[in-house]
Symmetry: C2
Subunit: 121 residues, 2 copies
């Protein structure tokens, strides 16, 4: 296996669509994904997976049932399994996600935003 | 449990020592760590854990037995389990690591650089 480095901005240059994360790495059963966030996602939770969001450009709001946190460039947030959340981005944000390979983007919900199969880039 | 965001630079402001990563998050049995790299680390491997290095400031060289890769700000690299590697930083680099909670920094080696217990910040 050839080991190569990955440049985050180069990977983001390969796609423009929102709410459709790409897989850019895998380790220990976890995927590293890159996603463009813009507008309102849906309320959902992941029953079995904790999920990490790291902002590499821009910012977004993570709405929780009891508060809203603004996640800016250079910030990350971990949403534990079972916790309802909704990402909302007023302007487009570039976000790195870390989560188990089993994670469905819309969690316990099915919606037009659901992506059953993610592309590897 | 209270969910809070984490700012990477704020966490780095809390420590200055090199080759002594701090734990700044945990999800799905994996730790998120922040470490300052400067100078030569030691050759080692992790028999059971893949390891990810994401540079948030500066750069470092990842030496592998067959090549050396320069990992710059905004790049990441995943070192699969069993692969010998040695990080070398000519100038100080700030690096985020993702790896299972079981991971020992010096892998299969014991050395003055070995850290059996990492601090959470």
């Amino acid at each position: 296996m050839s080991i190569e480095k990955v440049n985050i901005e180069q990977k983001f240059s390969l796609f423009n669509d929102i709410w459709n994360p790409r897989i850019v790495g895998e380790l220990n059963g976890q995927y590293v994904k890159l996603g463009r966030f813009k507008g309102d996602f849906i309320w959902h939770k992941h029953d079995n997976e904790d999920e990490m969001f790291l902002v590499t450009k821009g910012s977004f709001k993570m709405e929780l049932r009891d508060k809203t946190l603004m996640i800016n460039e250079g910030d990350f947030i971990i949403i534990p399994k079972g916790v309802e959340h909704r990402p909302v981005a007023e302007t487009e944000a570039e976000v790195m996600l870390f989560e188990p390979a089993t994670t469905l983007n819309t969690g316990d919900k099915r919606d037009a935003l659901t992506k059953d199969k993610l592309e590897r880039i």
